[in-house]
Each structure stands twice: as C-alpha cells, then as structure tokens.
Point group: C2
C-alpha cells in the first residue's frame, strides 16, 4: 500500500476515534465488510454472506488490530503492520480474546445489525459487549473528494453505456441477452464488475421494480427499462434509463417520461445543504400528485451510494435529517402501471455547498 | 412456478418438518438466503449481505409463511399462495408477529449464525426464541438427483472453458485480462454468472491461495493457476487447473503436478459411503508426506458445493462424520512455494453407492 492510501485509512480511523470518544466506546469491533474496507483497505467483500474474511478492531488510542485467517495473511501484510495483525484458525474468538486482552482491550462496541447471535455469544465469554452502531456509517455518509471522483468515474462508465444502448437494444433481443451486453460493455470499459444484477424490463415487465431479466423479447415500438451499475475503484454506480425501441414513441410513453423527468428536476432543484431529506421525496411526489398519478410512484426517491449500492441516506417520506455537502444520492422517480409498463429515470447527484450536481 | 417445482420445494419442507418434530422445534425461522431458496424457490440471493429480501417460516404442521417486502410481491406470488404471504413495510418484526401469532405460532427456532443481534432482539419481544441450527444444512448435504444434474451441468461448462484456456492464456496477457476472458466464456456459454471471483495466479502468485488477479503478466515458460466456477440453474461449479504457458514444462512443474494428481487420486480412490471424511484428507496428505512436501499443502482437501460455492461438508483433518451417497464435494490438493509458485488441481465429485465419481 502506498503512503497516500495508508494515510487516508489512518485519517478515517482517527475520525472514528473521535466519534468513539464522544460516544464513550472504548474500542469498536468492525464486522461489516464495507466498513472494514473503508477503515483499512482490507478486502472489500466477504467471500460469502456467511463467511467473513476478517474483522477490524479500532481502539480508543490505537494501534488498531486486523484479524483474518491464513488465506489472507499475504494480502493483510501488504497493508497492515505484522505486529498488529492476528491470524486466527478454528478458534477465532479465543484467538481474538488472547490478542486483545494482551493489549488491555476488555470491552468492545459492536454493530447489532452486522454481528450474528453466534458470534455475539462467543465473544460475550471474553469481552464486555455494548451496542454501538452507525458510527462508521456516519463517516461514510459524507464522501471525501477522492470518493466523489471515484463515484464520478464509475458513473461515467454508465453514461457511456447508456449512450450505446439505443443502438444495441433491438426488437427480438431477450432481456437476458440485453443484460449480458450491458455487463460486457461495463467490463470491457474497465469496470471491476457490476454493482448489482442488471435490471432489464421490456414492455410490461418495466412495471416490476425488481425485474429479473428473462426470456421476454423486446418488441418493436415498445419501451425497455434498464437499471444498471458497475464498480470502479471499489465504488458503485447506479443509473436507470427507459428507452423506446422502434419508431415514434407512443404518446403515453412521452407523457410519462416527461412527468418523471419533471419530478426528478423538482427534487434536484431543491436539494442543498440544510434541506430536510424527506422534502426531496415530497417535491418529486407533488409533481405526480398534481396530475393524479402519485399512486403509480411506489418506491422511495433514492438512496445513498458509495462502497455499497445501497447505503445511507434513504430519500423516503419519513427520512429524518438534512442534506449535507459531500452526500451522494440517487434521484430516481418512476411511474408504473402493471398493465402497461413503467418509466424510471435515475441520476446520481453529489450535494455541493449550495445545491447538488449530477455525476 | 410449475407443478414439478412446487412439489420439489414442498417435499423439502416436509422433510424439514420431520427434522423439526425430531428436534422438538415448533416452527423454524429460515433467514439464510440459500436455505430460504432451497425450501421455497424464492430469491436465491439477498440484495446485499446487510439487506434481506425475505424470510421463510416453516411450521410444525404447515402451512408455511413467506415474508418479503413490496418490491418482491410479484415474484413471491408467482410461487407462493397469497394467503400465506406476508408483505412487510418498515415495521418488519411487528408485521411478522401479527401474522404468525394470528396462526398460533408463538415460538420460533432460529439459526444463530444467520440472524443478527438486531433482528434477534426485535423478535424476542414477540416470540419465544430458541437456537436450532444446521437442520436445513443437513438436508442440503445430500443432493437430490436433480441437484446433481445441475451441478454436473455447471461443472460441464468448466470443463469446456478449461479446455479453451491453453490457447487463450498467452505470454504478455495480464491475470486480470485472463480472468475477464474466463468470465466472458462462462457467460457466453450460458452461465448465469460466476460462483466466485475468478482466481488467476501467474508464476509466484499461484502460491497465494487467495490471489486477486492483477496487472501481473503471464510470462513465457511459466505456470498459471486458474480457479474458477459459474452458476447454472442456481448451482455452483468450482474447478482449478494449473497450466504451463510456453514450450516444455519445467521439471519442477511436472513433478509437482504429478504429486498433486497422485494425492487427488489417492483421495478419490477411497471416498465412498461410510468412510470418515477426515480420511480423504489424510490419504491425500500422505502422498505428500511420503516425499517430505506435506508442509506445502496448506489448506483443507475440499468442501461441499451446491447452491453455495462453500457449504458442508469440509474435508479437513478434524472433520467428523462419514461420506454418504449424494454428497458433492471438491477434491483439490495443492502444493505451494512462495518463492516459486504452486500447483492445485480440483475435481468436483459426487459420492455414489460404492465410491465417488468426478462431475
């Protein structure tokens, strides 16, 4: 790991230490993969949801300790001092206890959503445990300039691919084939992978907010919704466009798209530091209410995005809190009718000092 | 969902019901994605490790209840009766309680490794909870003929791709480029995706059991280890081969490969129903011990594979239990030397009535 990277992770842990002191947490067990990576650069993903590749413990005064198994010794040593690295075998919790108790760490804060009952029970025999959640997430909410640049680069690949899609989406092509073409374009453009399974909804399937691409063929003179994103430098993109395949778009498509874009614009025009986040949702929804179609807007307006496709904040009617500079969120209103189809349009925006800007 | 599929999932839940009765568990909360899918056909994956798309509750006498959120209503109704489906909003745990208490379900068994402390706390206010783990895994350990066929088909794609690799792996190509070519071949051959991120280790990198493909270029007259797999029909494949790129393989490569294949053969020759699983590991290891290189065999011999790449049983020195017909495991001995490289060779095998057979 080069010096700049090392300093970035150290700075994040220093900021976390300040939050720990504020919350009276003597040391924090970081068990959630994205948080671990954010604070250490070690392995962004666990090998399976039920298979952790390691935990990090951030202590009140440092040094911090990275725990992993022998498969990852080499990867860990590239970015972590050997004396602060604990390689565990089958007796993971006992090994952790021995290592940490030897350093005087007897109490740990933990994230109740990111630790299983099994691990909690096993650690409880060794440590005083107390819930301490949302601290790393609070840091991750505000993106550093370097993170915004990576998100912009990831989103840049989306722009490129969405521009290629009108030529690529042809009548007779299945949703599944289209999804694979999207993935191929992302990968050939340099993405590390998809940030989530691509959604391709042809015709009525566009009305399913969670449409798994299938054997349905794209018909001539019909709509196709594509919701896709990639990972670049570890950061996620997420973008939806709804295309018309064929000649002149139907009036209903044009009118629905016009409304969706108007709702999106209404939200983006008011998003700025200090605005309650729920207001962005309501601003978009009002555009639909004014013409009596708000019932067809069935989900939230958007979500934070960064190391994960879905992270805080959520732009929902009951979200508490206000926008702050450095937040990156999606703005993705949509209108759906199961008997017809749907239109969704999605930008990723970064909150600036005095407004917001599409990435 | 067609009738055959529906009956398959119902049969699995009936078999689980027998295990529940045996264990005195009145109802089981199935929170782990692969288990949920195995028992219901509903959504094989959660959207993120921290974002469940639904839970299943299997009750002593049925009917069983599927819980999900509004994004998945349509997908759930395709395979589950509406009257046994509960769509929750923000108040997930309270909604579950209302639905289940209305049916007289007051106590739930849960898997301590597959439920977070947060969810456990929230459910504890509504239900009597008791740990009940490993029950669905016990069923999944023995593959049904249909599952073996899907695993064979997934593995068949591996055979095809591994055959194409000697022509594809060329000096000057980076590990990263090679990994993408492997993925492209899998997808173009019909795979739904990879079962895990492809490992490509050129030269010394082959000695890292967890080699992330990078910018290292394949050199002429050197070895390249490729460990890759796909998903087909939801089932995973996993296969490793170690190739020589260039003219005549070095003597060391030939000798190491010969030993690894001999160890693999030694294990496969004895695997049969009734054999203690640890014996397979020891049989392979003995081949290495006989020539004094056992210290270079640094991992277990293999693992179960099915809906997940890594599932039970583990073929490790301390594994308890014996082989049984219908188990599908990998057999993947390897020898590694950080200063030189490594050779690993991996088959997927199904345990038959009187031995085992490579898929």
């Amino acid at each position: 790991m080069n010096a700049a990277d090392r300093i970035r992770y150290e700075n994040r842990r220093e900021r976390l230490r300040a939050l720990l002191a504020e919350a009276g947490v003597p040391a924090l067990l970081v068990s959630f993969a994205a948080n671990r990576y954010y604070l250490s650069g070690f392995e962004q993903h666990d090998s399976q949801c039920n298979e952790s590749v390691g935990w990090l413990v951030v202590t009140a005064k440092g040094p911090d300790v990275l725990f992993t198994d022998a498969r990852f010794t080499d990867a860990a040593l590239r970015l972590w001092p050997g004396e602060d690295l604990c390689i565990y075998g089958a007796g993971k919790h006992a090994a952790m206890a021995e290592f940490l108790l030897g350093r005087g760490v007897k109490a740990l804060g933990f994230d109740p959503k990111a630790i299983s009952v099994f691990d909690h029970e096993a650690l409880r025999g060794h440590f005083e445990l107390a819930p301490a959640d949302g601290l790393v997430e609070r840091l991750r909410l505000i993106k550093e300039p370097g993170e915004v640049e990576l998100l912009r680069a990831a989103c840049g690949l989306n722009h490129r691919i969405m521009r290629a899609l009108p030529d690529l989406l042809q009548p007779g092509m299945t949703e599944d084939e289209a999804a694979w073409q999207v993935e191929r374009l992302f990968r050939e453009a340099g993405a590390e992978g998809l940030s989530f399974p691509t959604i391709v909804g042809a015709g009525r399937n566009a009305a399913l907010p969670h449409a798994i691409p299938g054997e349905t063929k794209i018909e001539r003179d019909s709509l196709v919704l594509v919701d896709a994103g990639c990972r670049l430098g570890g950061y996620c993109s997420d973008q939806t466009r709804t295309f018309w395949v064929g000649r002149e778009p139907s009036e209903r498509f044009q009118e629905t798209k016009r409304l969706v874009l108007a709702a999106q614009k209404a939200a983006m025009e008011i998003i700025k530091p200090g605005l309650p986040m729920a207001e962005a949702y309501h601003a978009a929804r009002r555009v639909f209410e004014d013409v009596g179609v708000a019932g067809q807007f069935t989900h939230s307006l958007g979500h934070g995005i960064g190391l994960e496709t879905h992270e805080g904040p959520s732009l929902a009617p009951r979200t508490e809190g206000v926008f702050a500079p450095g937040m990156v969120v999606t703005v993705e209103p949509g209108l759906y009718d199961a008997a017809w189809g749907g239109v969704r349009w999605e930008y990723m925006v970064v909150v600036t000092e005095d407004g917001c800007k599409a990435l």
